[in-house]
């Protein structure tokens, strides 16, 4: 490397005219190409390339309270527009999705509040979002009968988590629901840690009754060949990760097991790599496992996903003008076993 190689492109300063679209702002960030703003513009470019790559299967990994934070309709719309091919989520996010699908709400609250007073009013806090306990209870009550129905229809046969989410989506009739959108668009939606959410307690309730008939059976191991198969059958794979945890690991491990490695990767996290946990692990570390290719188009954004994920979506959707319609991955379609009702 020569000295001049380090000094190729000067930083161009951000300029804000009176009106600016989201993508125009992202282009300003690209010009400055600095720090978080530069990484955000890179993330938009990588996601655009994923979307425009007809041979790429796009995995969305969802962890953290993205649904309570207001990103439910955005994700449902992206599924319907085929800007996402496969979803891997915490059970909790789909619980919150189902709560709203059944008429419940999340409320704007505050982090500075007496939590014991909330307890006494049966209100749960997710940082500065409040959820009334009865919305969980009404969900549990409804799920107990839905679980009865699913178990009876499957006659005791155990389901993979994406079968389970498809069964739920079939029974929810809210167009803003992620579960419903995935069902209608025939997008597989995996819940690898489904038990670690209200779904687990709803199952307990369903199975606890004295006169329960068939008990719903889920088999997490059944997810593995399905998600690995999705990676294997796809010419290229890309991941958009919000948070980390089990969803990120599930997606990355599928890329590892299929010997494919991700071709594109955008990770949005606030976690740090030093404690050794997966959620903060760098993309470079991921390369060492073969989960992401060394030459992959990749970036890690240390940012609040509730801010940057809608910006990435808005910027890329703005770029997809001129009647752009994403060609869906043929292999994904083969997974669909049922037509939406």
């Amino acid at each position: 490397m020569e000295r001049t190689d380090f000094l190729g492109e000067p930083v161009k300063h951000v300029r804000i005219p009176s009106k600016l679209s989201v993508d125009e702002l992202i282009q300003q960030f690209k010009n400055s190409s600095s720090f978080g703003a530069g990484r955000l513009s890179t993330a938009c470019d990588i996601y655009e390339r994923m979307v425009r790559d007809e041979d790429c299967t796009i995995f969305l990994a969802l962890a953290g309270a993205v649904v309570p934070a207001g990103m439910r309709s955005l994700i449902a719309d992206m599924i319907r527009e085929r800007l996402i091919d496969v979803v891997v989520s915490t059970g909790a996010n789909m619980v919150h999705d189902a709560i709203e699908a059944l008429g419940g709400h999340h409320y704007k609250g505050h982090w500075l509040v007496d939590d014991y007073t909330l307890y006494k009013y049966h209100i749960y806090r997710i940082y500065d979002v409040f959820v009334p306990e009865e919305d969980f209870v009404k969900l549990d009550y409804k799920l107990a009968s839905i679980f009865d129905e699913i178990a009876a229809e499957n006659n005791g046969k155990s389901l993979a988590s994406n079968d389970f989410s498809r069964e739920l989506g079939k029974r929810l009739h809210d167009q803003d629901s992620i579960l419903r959108a995935a069902y209608e668009a025939q997008v597989p939606l995996f819940l690898p840690a489904v038990r670690d959410s209200e779904f687990g307690f709803a199952h307990w309730l369903h199975a606890s009754r004295k006169n329960v008939g068939q008990v719903l059976a889920l088999d997490a191991f059944k997810d593995v060949p399905e998600i690995v198969g999705l990676c294997r059958r796809s010419a290229r794979n890309g991941m958009m990760v919000i948070g980390g945890g089990v969803p990120r690991n599930t997606v990355q491990s599928a890329a590892l097991a299929s010997k494919k490695g991700m071709d594109y990767a955008v990770i949005i996290t606030m976690d740090r790599p030093e404690p050794g946990g997966l959620s903060g692990s760098t993309l470079e570390e991921t390369v060492s496992w073969g989960k992401v290719k060394s030459q992959a188009d990749k970036v890690m954004l240390i940012a609040d996903a509730t801010i940057v994920f809608p910006m990435i979506a808005a910027s890329v959707i703005e770029r997809l003008t001129g009647g752009f319609k994403r060609v869906t991955n043929g292999e994904r379609r083969k997974l669909a076993v049922e037509e939406p009702e």
Binding site: K120, H122, P132, E133, K138, Y141, R209, K210, N211
Partner: protein, 67 residues
């Protein structure tokens, strides 16, 4: 640590209750398991009452609402 005291037994201060139609009705997990209607009045009570680990406002609010 202050120990919670219950002056009168109601579904709304029983350990089996969760909020349902706040504050008038609660969900009873015990009745649900027993295949009985789990939605009961906050100010009702049955022989399966047991103490709650922490106090809540259900009884106070339901009483207020009842006038």
């Amino acid at each position: 640590m202050k120990k919670s005291t219950v002056e009168r037994k109601y579904c709304g201060n029983c350990g089996n209750h969760n909020a349902y139609n706040y504050p008038n009705q609660v969900f009873c997990g015990k009745r649900f398991s027993d295949d009985k209607n789990p939605i009961v009045d906050t100010l009702w009570c049955c022989e399966d009452w047991n103490p709650s680990s922490q106090e809540c406002y259900c009884v106070r609010e339901a009483t207020k609402k009842q006038g």
